[in-house]
Amino acid sequence: MVTIYERKLGFEGKPGLSRRELLKRGGASALLVISGSAVISPEHAWGLETSALKPETMATLIQMARDIYPHDQVPDKYYAIAVKAHDEQAGKDPAHKDLIEKGIADLDVKSGKDGYTGLGWEEQRVAVLKQIEGTPFFQAVRGGLVVGLYNQKEVWPIFGYEGESYSKGGYIARGFDDIEWL
């Protein structure tokens, strides 16, 4: 099971985490920390526990998700939620685990000695993604994101989409025709 948890305490305060953290610096992205079986965002106080995929794989997957659908105003947490289904599916289906682990390993090889997240600029990473665009691995990740990312109710307000409206009586008294600049 993958759990995304809000970290109430600071990173040091989370019990059970060893100190052999491996720091991963995604080029343009925020700092993600690997600890045991978790990917942690110390700055933004959330963590993601993996069970089937390696946490390093998950961290790279999160960066890859952002590079496929980059929205600078959307925090990493939502990308993490969007890709966590791959860990769940990998737990049930060894073929899927293989697809993701090998796909990420391949991505790292193609990216040079510091791997995919070692590439500092989005353009550099996108150039690598372009090489694998047609692969089942890329399509599985991209396809999953279309619903996994954009169907999170929490991200809708970031885009100005208001979602459900029936319980509020529709928009008849809430601005269905409030445009003023025409």
Binding site: I68, Y69, P70, H71, Q73, V126, R142, V146, V147, L149, Y150, N151, W156, F159, G160, Y161, E162, G163, E164, S165, Y166, S167, G169, G170, Y171, I172, R174, G175, F176, D177, D178, I179, W181, L182
Partner: protein
């Protein structure tokens, strides 16, 4: 009270499908005292159960049984197993539909005579004219509460409409308004008026929008002459030695096969399932499928020439607020070959929520070009192009050679290639649509490819001569006189207009004919 009819009752009319065609026919017949059983593959979800959420609603209502696709249309690449966005639920696609209700134009009933022969197209005149249809259009508009008819006011324009209207004015378009919508603009028919909720595609929780689910079926049930049997998937239509149909085999809610006997069978499963069922009912007497002596069953599949144009502005629009499709420009709907194509198209307002926009704006697209479009979602306006597409013999529904559904019925393959006329029309519309938004100050426009088909037409076409089509002007099959087709698959050609008003009008007309033939004992 809903009347449960015995499986062995061979006096009933069995209708397959409870959507625009089947649901209307069922109620109309019941009102005339004819006993009717509607077999509906989907479950019954009442309006309270509808969900203001695009994917959840899709999961609740849409037809997601597997289909395959082929041909050069982009849907085959982007959505290989979802050629059509239609419904499997009581009420059929009238739960999802947007309510745009337009009459076909006079020349659209006579395309072969008007456009002339076109290479690669199987144009044909309808065996009925607009004049013959007019009284039925009037009845349908009255029944459905179509705005702009019968003194019902049009709906107020939402933000998306206002942008469209401003652009239409700039381009000099003359006929632009909030449409003829089967959506209550005032309380009527014991149903609410539109509350501008903006989830028309997800089922109207206010019942402001006409649907057979709550505007036809309960009235039919109240007569005691109509039974709607949900979770009943028709698989085969049986016939006797004389060739008359005698009953319908269906899988019930537990997957068990049952046979409902029938005096008359009317097929209304929408234009993919209706031919699938006729083809799957092949027998030694009818080796090519029922009603298929012409070989036309499944052919001439049409889906309208569609596409969308979305545009981003430097100021907010909030297009998703309010009635999804209440906005139209009709100036391009005329037949004017000087534009480089025959037939015409309509512009209608359209909006998708963020989740569907992500899925449909540029399927398969990724990277900043794609995401910067969504970043300005609340600054977007959108329109839909709906135009007449050319019927083609090769565009067709066939039974898959080896893939079968859970009941062992071969699944449908949907083949579609654009005709050059379709492509020319779409490109013209993209250009006009982009110019329209540019005229109001759009900073970026998106010619968006067609979605999985919402308008599915033509696969059991109506024809004067038995050799040219599947059914006559009453939707009665040329080959078997107690077998009818009652949905959009009867369309000889597609017209530029959204099809449902015509489907409903044909069903009202067909009910009169069937009841007349029954009392004359000729069927």
């Amino acid at each position: 009270m809903a009347a449960p009819f015995d499986l062995k009752n061979d006096g009933v009319v069995v209708i397959i499908g409870s959507g625009a065609g089947g649901g209307t026919l069922g109620n109309e017949l019941a009102q005339k005292g004819v006993d009717v059983v509607i077999l509906e593959a989907g479950a019954r979800h009442e309006y309270e159960d509808f969900i203001n959420d695009e994917w959840d609603s899709f999961a609740q209502l849409a037809w997601t049984d597997k289909r395959t696709t082929s041909g050069d249309w982009r849907v085959a690449k982007d959505f290989p197993n979802l050629p059509a966005w239609i419904v499997k639920s009581v009420g059929g696609s009238t739960t999802h539909w947007a309510g745009a209700s337009l009459r076909l134009q006079e020349h659209e009933f006579k395309t072969l005579s008007t456009y002339g022969k076109l290479e690669g197209a199987t144009l044909l005149d309808w065996p009925i004219t607009l004049a013959e249809m007019e009284p039925y259009y009037a009845k349908a508009e009255a029944k459905m509460g179509v705005t702009g008819t019968n003194d019902w006011p049009r709906l107020p324009g939402n933000n998306n409409f206002k942008v469209l209207k401003a652009g239409a004015d700039k381009l000099g378009y003359k006929e632009c308004h909030t449409g003829n919508m089967a959506i209550n603009s005032v309380d009527r028919d014991d149903r609410n008026s539109c509350q501008q909720t903006g989830f028309c595609f997800q089922g109207c929780k206010w019942r402001a929008k006409w649907s057979t689910l709550y505007a036809e079926i309960p009235k039919g049930e109240a007569t005691g002459h109509l039974e709607v049997r949900p979770n009943a998937m028709a698989i085969k239509i049986n016939h006797d030695a004389s060739g008359k149909v005698t009953g319908v085999v269906y899988a019930d809610k537990d997957g068990k096969l049952q046979e409902q006997k029938a005096r008359i069978v009317a097929v209304a499963g929408n234009s993919i399932e209706s031919p699938r069922l006729l083809l799957n009912s092949a027998s030694s007497k009818f080796p090519d499928g029922l009603a298929n002596s012409s070989g036309q069953v499944g052919k001439n599949y049409m889906r309208h020439t569609t596409g969308s144009v979305y545009a981003i502005f430097d100021k907010p629009v909030h297009m998703y607020r309010g009635t999804t499709m209440a906005g139209i420009i009709r100036d391009e709907a005329r037949h004017d070959p000087s534009r480089g194509f025959v037939g015409g198209y309509e512009f209608e307002t359209l909006s998708l929520g963020l989740p569907f926009m992500a899925a449909f704006l540029d399927p398969g697209g990724w990277g900043r070009s794609f995401t910067t479009a969504l970043d300005h979602y609340d600054h977007m306006a959108g329109l839909w192009i709906v135009g007449e597409d050319m019927p083609r013999a090769e565009n067709r529904i066939t039974l898959h050679a080896d893939m079968k559904d859970e009941h062992g019925m071969p699944i449908a393959d949907v083949h579609f290639d654009d005709h050059a006329n379709d492509t020319a029309m779409r490109n013209h519309a993209y250009k006009q649509g982009s110019a329209l938004y540019a005229a109001v100050g759009a900073t970026r426009t998106f010619p968006t490819p067609p979605y999985p088909s919402t308008h599915n037409l033509g696969t059991n076409r109506m024809s004067e001569k038995a050799a040219d089509g599947v059914v006559n002007k009453h939707g009665q099959s040329h080959d078997i006189k107690n077998l009818f087709v009652s949905d959009g698959s009867q369309f000889t050609t597609g017209g530029a207009e959204n099809p449902t008003l015509t489907i409903v009008s044909l069903a009202i007309r067909q009910a009169e004919y069937i009841a007349g033939q029954m009392s004359a004992k000729s069927i």
